[in-house]
Each structure stands twice: as structure tokens, then as C-alpha cells.
């Protein structure tokens, strides 16, 4: 028989290294001779979308198109250290560093524009699409390219650093401010359990994720889908089957992960509540998006068939055994 049930899970998640560990991101913004802006950071693109959202942050500050940002993050000999692509920290930490570096660069560009345009103040100047001009008299303008040229061979470069706050906790009672900021989220799932085979299918899923401020909604949706798949795998499929220290499931033919055929349609709701210390209010969501999935599935299994599974993954064998035991107790 197939039985359906609904389950719910919610979590909070502290981002950054935490516990007072130095959490430092550096970023450089540089005006290129062609008027475009290069951003140098040590942050890696591991598939999370760093190159894109960090280019968006720089473009927003510089009033440029994303195509006018040259994002350089591949080489330790030319990029500053921006910390690891982990702890859901790159959007918040390196995002902040890039925002600061771009703001610094913009300030210098405006300062130079005042000199070139022979103005007595920067009041009334607007930056737009690689131009600096007087709002009330747009003919009074200078391009980023001309500003860059005015520095001759010395490229205009600004480096800034962002350091996140957290405190070490006391050793005896673990009190303190271990992480900042925290991110929140909730997940609901509907499962269908086959009581004859122990197989669990996810029929429907809804996720609401707090992001502070969405920098790129589509990329957040991608993270939510990916996080759901990973949480789903954790709850139902994945086990390395380690026997006497040896991994028995060491290839994808026996280490099973969800495929697109297993994935339900996940309804994704982005909840915005800006964090004042984040870049444009943003918080990182790479990790929290997987944390509420497994508990929601486990609660849904209970709702469907009335058995509590306290060990993951809930393989068909494990679940069937629990269902049979429950029937026998009746």
C-alpha cells in the first residue's frame, strides 16, 4: 500500500568561520585603460555562482553592466587572499570587501573627474555607464576611459579588506557570539511510502529561505534545488558502507545519490529581510539550504506510516523492518 504524509523542518545557520577566528576577505578594484573595472579576489568559483554575484556587486557600485566587470580569481600571484569558499561566507565577506573596494575606486574616479572637468566640487556629479557627468549639465562629462588614460601607465587601483565579527567562546560554558550573521529557513515535504517495499518518494516540496537580500534570485533558486537534492540524498540514499575502515560504496554504481528522476518540483520562496552589515543586505545561503531537508523528510515518513526513523539514510530495508515491527506490535 502507498501512504502519503507531510513533514516539516526548520533550521538556523551561523555563517563565517566563527568563534573569533580571523575571518578576512581582501579585494582589489582596478580601473582598466578601456574604462572597464577589474576585480581581483582570491575567492573561488566552486559552482555556487561567486563570479556572477560578485560581479553584480561591483557593477552595482560602479554603475556598470556586468559585462564591464573583469572578474579575476584564479591565480594566487595576482589576487589577494579572500579566504576559503566555505562557511557560506563568500557572498557576505568577500561581497563586502568588493563593495568597499569598488566604492573606494568610485570615489577616486569622481575625484579625478572633478579635476579633469575643472569643477569646484563633486556635488551634482553622476556616474553612469562608464561616464561621469554633471546631472544639471550632462555635456560636462568625462569617460572612465579618459580618466584611466589621465593616470598614464599607473592603473588606478584600490584594495580594501572586510573582517567579520564573532567572539571566542568561554571554555567552560560555551558562552559568546560564535557566528554572525545567522540565516533561517523552513522546508515542508510530502512523501509517499510504499509499505510493501519500504521505498520513499518525495511528491512535493516547499522551501522558504531567508537570504537577507537576494543578489541573484535565480542563483539562489539553484542553490535551493541543489541543497534539496543533497539533503534528500542524505536522508534516503547515501551511505559509504564503511567496513573495517574501508569504503565499500566507492563508485556511483553503489554509492547512490538522487538523480533528476528522483527530484520533485521544489517550490522555492525567497524571504528577504536585509542584514545591515551585509553587502546590500545579503547573507550567504550555500549551506543552510540543505539543513532542513532531511528532518522534514523524516517527519513526513512518520506522518505517513507512523514509524520514527532515528538513523539515516532511511534505506528501504531499514524502513520496511520498522514498518513490519510496528505491524507486529499491534
Amino acid at each position: 500500500m502507498k501512504k502519503r504524509g507531510i513533514g516539516f523542518g526548520n533550521t538556523f545557520y551561523g555563517t563565517g568561520y566563527g568563534n573569533g577566528f580571523p575571518d578576512v576577505s581582501n579585494a582589489v578594484a582596478e580601473l582598466r585603460p578601456d574604462g572597464r573595472v577589474a576585480i581581483y579576489v582570491g575567492a573561488t568559483e566552486v559552482g555556487q555562482g561567486a563570479k556572477t554575484i560578485m560581479s553584480q556587486i561591483a557593477a552595482e557600485v560602479m554603475e556598470l553592466k556586468v559585462e564591464d566587470i573583469i572578474f579575476i580569481n584564479e591565480d594566487t600571484s595576482i589576487t589577494p587572499d579572500s579566504g576559503t569558499a566555505a562557511a557560506s561566507r563568500q557572498t557576505y565577506n568577500t561581497g563586502n570587501a568588493i563593495k568597499k573596494a569598488a566604492e573606494s575606486l568610485k570615489k577616486e574616479i569622481i575625484k579625478r573627474a572633478v579635476e579633469i572637468l575643472e569643477l569646484n566640487s563633486e556635488t551634482g556629479l553622476k556616474v553612469e555607464n562608464k561616464n561621469v557627468y554633471l546631472k544639471t549639465f550632462p555635456d560636462k562629462r568625462v569617460t572612465f576611459e579618459d580618466i584611466a588614460k589621465s593616470f598614464k601607465d599607473n592603473l588606478l587601483r584600490k584594495e580594501e579588506v572586510f573582517i567579520a565579527h564573532s567572539t571566542q567562546m568561554d571554555e567552560e560554558e560555551g558562552q559568546g557570539c560564535p557566528y554572525w550573521p545567522y540565516t533561517f529557513g523552513a522546508c515542508g515535504v510530502e512523501v509517499e511510502v510504499d509499505t510493501e517495499t519500504g521505498k520513499v518518494d518525495i511528491i512535493n516540496a516547499v522551501v522558504a529561505q531567508d537570504v537577507g537580500k537576494a543578489i541573484n534570485p535565480l542563483l539562489i533558486e539553484g542553490q535551493i534545488d541543489g541543497g534539496f537534492a543533497m539533503g534528500y540524498g542524505y536522508a534516503i540514499f547515501e551511505d559509504l558502507n564503511v567496513k573495517k575502515g574501508e569504503i565499500k560504496h566507492n563508485r556511483f554504481s553503489n554509492y547512490l545519490i538522487p538523480t533528476s528522476l528522483d527530484m520533485p518540483n521544489v517550490e522555492k520562496i525567497i524571504v528577504e529581510d536585509p542584514e545591515s552589515t551585509g553587502p546590500f543586505g545579503a547573507k550567504g545561503i550555500g549551506e543552510p539550504v540543505m539543513t532542513y531537508v532531511a528532518p522534514a523528510i523524516l517527519n513526513a515518513i512518520y506522518n505517513a506510516v507512523g514509524v520514527r526513523v532515528t538513523e539515516v539514510p532511511v534505506t528501504p530495508e531499514k524502513l520496511l523492518k520498522l514498518i513490519v515491527e510496528k505491524e507486529q506490535r499491534k
Binding site: I6, N10, T11, F12, Y17, T44, V46, G47, K51, T52, Q56, A59, E60, V66, E74, D75, T76, A86, A87, M169, E172, E173, G174, Q175, P178, P181, Y182, F184, G188, V206, A208, Q209, D210, K213, I215, N216, P217, Y234, E238, D239, L240, V242, G245, I247, N250, R251, Y255, I269, V271, E272, D273, F280, E287, T291, P295, A296, R308, T310, E311, P313
Partner: protein
């Protein structure tokens, strides 16, 4: 903030690296070929705990084998590790897990390197091993690291209020033990890399990594070279999820290129990849949670044991994060948490998406449902009575000042989940 007008932030801009990836133009480490390139293969331990003696002479005699590297060839520190330097570049006296690197063959082709792997003689003097973290915590257990008098690597203690007294005042109490399995990041692209010497003697390693600057430091320390002589180039990365935070082949390749003065490449198969990188810590979580009859959480006690396998990697930080997140997003005035990181001879565990805070929700969210059931209360209503909101105080005494929209998240989900029928 609200009156700020934004042009690009908030827009679903197309990924800047999307086209190159879907068109197959993005360069991953495996795609790099250089003239005169050599190939490297790692010999790994077959046993979880043993003293070793290695003889590479027969392998080195094979035509096309340039050299077989062992611990003797490491010019700097034969060690690495994100928190403690407890991983050896090549095991010297002892292996502590299946898959520990013992030697690295450098050969003219992958085929010859494979052949040479089979000719390396390793004399294993098998030691008693420990695979269960609870066993490993006992004084009598075999020690994974000789220099440690206990396998307990870290103990995080969290305490607020008076748990015992609070439980005596609870109308409902739920007590359970939960277990999570050891899992892999299962990223798409197995480890691969190329190292070479540049004309100015800079030692360059191209490798998919999560933190190039830290790799640079680890390679420099093992090579005994100044930091500025090491360059890490990060090509396209096919997923990471925490599995690329610890060193795998970076130092082996750097050493091979430095010694041979030629480009050297290594590509892991999927099964080697499973052996080479960290795993998610399996947790054993004992939870006791209590509430009053009007649905207010009053007390929670948890013991969390995390198996970090043979190496620390990020274990103290992972188990601390697990402990800090053990309450879930709930105001509980009386809390006691003890979380432990324990060495065993299992595969080593380190960073993985959620970093120690992925496991506790499996326990605390089921506890919430069970308490609600005992109270005959709707589980959502029960949660809403207890969740963090602006001004809430966490179990570590932290005040949550702003951007705490958990209530909105729950309401958004419940609005829609009720329509799933």
C-alpha cells in the same frame, strides 16, 4: 536600505561562466596538457592501522619510471592539515586509515605508472584498529595518533540555566538517540592537477580547490620554499561542498615537478577520489528535550559524538558548530550540550556543506514533532511558540538583533504545504 534603488543587484543575471561550461570550453585541471608532461599515481594504504616499511627499488627499475617519491623526498615538513598538521604528505612509519598515501610514482605514461604501483613493496605490520567512536573514547582503546594519550580530540561544552531543575518542571519529555552516516560530497569532477616549474623558478600547481591561498601555504611548508615561489592556479571547479578544503594531490604534484623539472599531471579515478578527500562526520546524538503543557520549551540536553576518522581536518570547528546549533532555532532557557570529536581508523571527516550543523536538525526537529504529539498540539503552532525572533537569546547567550525572519519562512511554507494534499 528599503529606499535604495538597485539596477543589477536583485536581478537574475545569467551566470558569467555558464556559456563556457555548457559549451565544454571551460578548462578543468584534467583538460590541461603540456609538452613533455609526466604522469603521477599514488600508492595508498590497504590497511587501516599498521606500521609500514616501503621498498620502491623494483618499481623504479621499470623502463619509463622516472622516480617513486616517499616521505624521504619531502624537503620541508612532511605534514599538512587545515587545523593541525596531522596528515603526512607520505606516511613515514605508520598508516592510520585505508587510503593513506605512501608513495607517488612519476612515469612517462599513466600505464607505466600503474604498472609501477604494483611493484612497490609495502611491508605492513598490522596494528589493532578502532572503528567505533564510542569504543575509541575509552582509555583502553588503541590510539590512532601515538603522541596523543586519548582519541578524544575536542570537547565543546555549552551550558546555560539549570537543566536538571528545569526537567523536573517539564510536563512532557522526549528522549532519543539518533545516528547519521558517513557520506561523501559526491562532486562531479574527481581530483586532478598539473604542476610545473616556470622559467623564474616559480613552482606552479593548477588544481581545483576551495582556497588557493591556503594551498599555497601548505605547499610552501612541505616544499621548504618561500611562499612567493609557489603559485596556485585555480581552473574551473566541478563542485566542492567542503571536499576540496584539505590537501589531496597538491603537494605530491609540486614535489614531482620540482624534482623532475618537468610538468607532472595526476588524475584520480572516482574510487581514488572517494579515498582521497574528507567525509561528513557521522554523529551519534543523544537528545532529551522537555516542554511545559502550554507548549514552551524549558530544557534540552544533548551529547553529540562525531567520528573524525584518522585525521582532525576541521573536526573541532565542526563539532563546535554542531554544539552551537544543537538547540535549533528555538529559545530554550536551560541547555546543556557536550559535543566530542573523536579519532578512529575510519576515513577522515572534515568540512561538508552544513559543517557540523547538518546533523543536529535530524534530531531536534524530530524531537519537536514528538513533543508536539505528546502535547496534542499542532507541530507548527508548537514551533511558532518557541522560535527565534528579533531580540531572542541563543543558548550561547547571543542576542539576535536583526534579520531574523524565521516566522515568515515557516508561514510561507505552511501556507503552501497545506495545499499539498
Amino acid at each position: 536600505m528599503s529606499n535604495m534603488t538597485l539596477n543589477i543587484v536583485g536581478k537574475s543575471v545569467l551566470r558569467v561562466d555558464a556559456l563556457s561550461k555548457v559549451k565544454g570550453e571551460a578548462i578543468y585541471p584534467q583538460d590541461i596538457y603540456m609538452d613533455g608532461m609526466l604522469y603521477g599515481k599514488t600508492l595508498r594504504s590497504k590497511y587501516p592501522h599498521a606500521y609500514i616499511k616501503v621498498d620502491t627499488s623494483e618499481a623504479e627499475a621499470i623502463d619509463g619510471v622516472i622516480k617513486v617519491l616517499t616521505y624521504k623526498d619531502v624537503p620541508g615538513h612532511n605534514s599538512h592539515g587545515v587545523l593541525f598538521k596531522d596528515h603526512e604528505v607520505f606516511c613515514e612509519k605508520k598508516v592510520r586509515r585505508v587510503g593513506d598515501p605512501i608513495a607517488f610514482v612519476i612515469a612517462e605514461s599513466e600505464k607505466i605508472a600503474d604498472e609501477a604501483l604494483g611493484k612497490i613493496k609495502v611491508d605492513y605490520d598490522i596494528l589493532e584498529a578502532v572503528f567505533d567512536p564510542i569504543e575509541a573514547m575509552k582509555e583502553s582503546s588503541p590510539k590512532v595518533h601515538d603522541n596523543e594519550d586519548s582519541n578524544i580530540l575536542y570537547h565543546y561544552k555549552l551550558k546555560t540555566g539549570d537543566v536538571e531543575e528545569a526537567f523536573s518542571k517539564c510536563d512532557v519529555i522526549v528522549e532519543n538517540e539518533y545516528k547519521t552516516s558517513m557520506v561523501d560530497h559526491a562532486f562531479l569532477q574527481p581530483e586532478a592537477g598539473v604542476a610545473y616549474m616556470e622559467e623564474d623558478e616559480t613552482l606552479t600547481v593548477c588544481v581545483a580547490t576551495q582556497y588557493p591561498h591556503f594551498d599555497q601555504l601548505e605547499v610552501a611548508e612541505a616544499m621548504g620554499l618561500p611562499l612567493e615561489k609557489i603559485k596556485i592556479i585555480n581552473p574551473a571547479v566541478g563542485g566542492a561542498f567542503g571536499g576540496r578544503e584539505d590537501i589531496t594531490l597538491q603537494i605530491h604534484l609540486a614535489l614531482a615537478a620540482y624534482i623532475t623539472k618537468k610538468p607532472v599531471k595526476a588524475i584520480y579515478s572516482r574510487d581514488e577520489s572517494f579515498e582521497a578527500h574528507s567525509k561528513r562526520h557521522p554523529y551519534i546524538m543523544k537528545y532529551k528535550t522537555g516542554a511545559t503543557k502550554d507548549g514552551k520549551l524549558l530544557a534540552m540536553e544533548a551529547t553529540i559524538i562525531g567520528d573524525t576518522g584518522a585525521y582532525a581536518s576541521w573536526a573541532p570547528n565542526v563539532l563546535r558548530k554542531g554544539g552551537v546549533h544543537a538547540t535549533g532555532p528555538y529559545e530554550i532557557p536551560n541547555v546543556k550540550v557536550d559535543s566530542y570529536a573523536v579519532y578512529t581508523n575510519n576515513p577522515f571527516a572534515g568540512a561538508m556543506r552544513g559543517f557540523g550543523a547538518t546533523q543536529p536538525p535530524i534530531a531536534y526537529e524530530q524531537q519537536m514533532d514528538m513533543l508536539a504529539e505528546k502535547l496534542e498540539m499542532d507541530p507548527i503552532e508548537f514551533r511558532l511558540k518557541n522560535i527565534f525572533k528579533e531580540g531572542s537569546k541563543t543558548a550561547t547567550g547571543q542576542i539576535l538583533a536583526e534579520s531574523i525572519p524565521l516566522k515568515n519562512c515557516i508561514e510561507e511554507v505552511t501556507k503552501r504545504i497545506n495545499t499539498i494534499k
